[in-house]
Symmetry: C2
Subunit: 142 residues, 2 copies
């Protein structure tokens, strides 16, 4: 019994789980970034940055709010909750590490930025440690 799934099946489950949290991670990261740059973040900023419609942003933000990552005031700016700020910090750190790593092995700036946007969500803590170790060994820690 327990042979209804193959032994490698958990890897695909992992990938599906990564994708379920991906949008949340990108949003809190972006909100923090825009807040840092412009003082406040509006829905229209996110729509422009992600190249989606403002309606998509409205719906996604409603989910983020329900899940406790952001707070909103009607017709006002978006703000991260304490929990949202903590998540943004770890997500940003991971993003930076992946980006620095790709550049360290010779990937061009622009390609590295683009690939990182997808890769970051599938890098496990162990792999992230390996990336950091590589950067350290090559004296390119940031």
């Amino acid at each position: 019994m327990a042979k209804d799934t193959a032994q490698g099946a958990h890897r695909f489950r992992r990938t599906r789980r990564d994708h379920a949290t991906e949008i949340t991670h990108d949003y809190v990261e972006m909100i923090a970034k825009i807040e840092a740059m412009h003082g406040e973040c509006r829905g229209s900023d996110l729509a422009r940055q992600f190249a989606v419609s403002h309606v998509t942003v409205t719906k996604t933000v409603a989910r983020l709010k329900k899940d406790g990552w952001v707070q909103t005031v009607p017709y006002g700016p978006l703000t991260l909750t304490a929990k949202g700020k903590r998540l943004a910090k770890t997500v940003r750190a991971r993003h930076e590490t992946v980006l620095a790593f790709l550049k360290a092995i010779g990937v061009s700036e622009e390609t590295a930025e683009a690939d990182t946007e997808g890769i970051e969500h599938h890098v496990s803590p162990e792999t992230l440690r390996c990336f950091r170790r590589f950067l350290k060994q090559n004296k390119l820690s940031n």
Copy 2:
């Protein structure tokens, strides 16, 4: 004008495009693998390997068929088209390279296998070349 999208927006578009082709890639890769191991591939094999229901497989296979990657006979095995076989080959090669690369920088077998399943879909040709170059330089080409 043309300032309705930010300069970094194309990266998120890229990631969304990667995700749109991801299932197709995983399916053709898996079908080729199962064919190679057991002579033929059935829908139930895919359901077991991906840990999804057989209904999900039926629906996904219908799309793959519509797009010309696989052929089916009612209540019979799945087969790849010529186009499907070619895609499977390139997808498998990319998977192998990503996996070998992660192991080369010190990621454990199991973690490398899991991370690769997601990362492979976001690795651009340029980054793949960097991975291969790294493996070559470290005499670990496969």
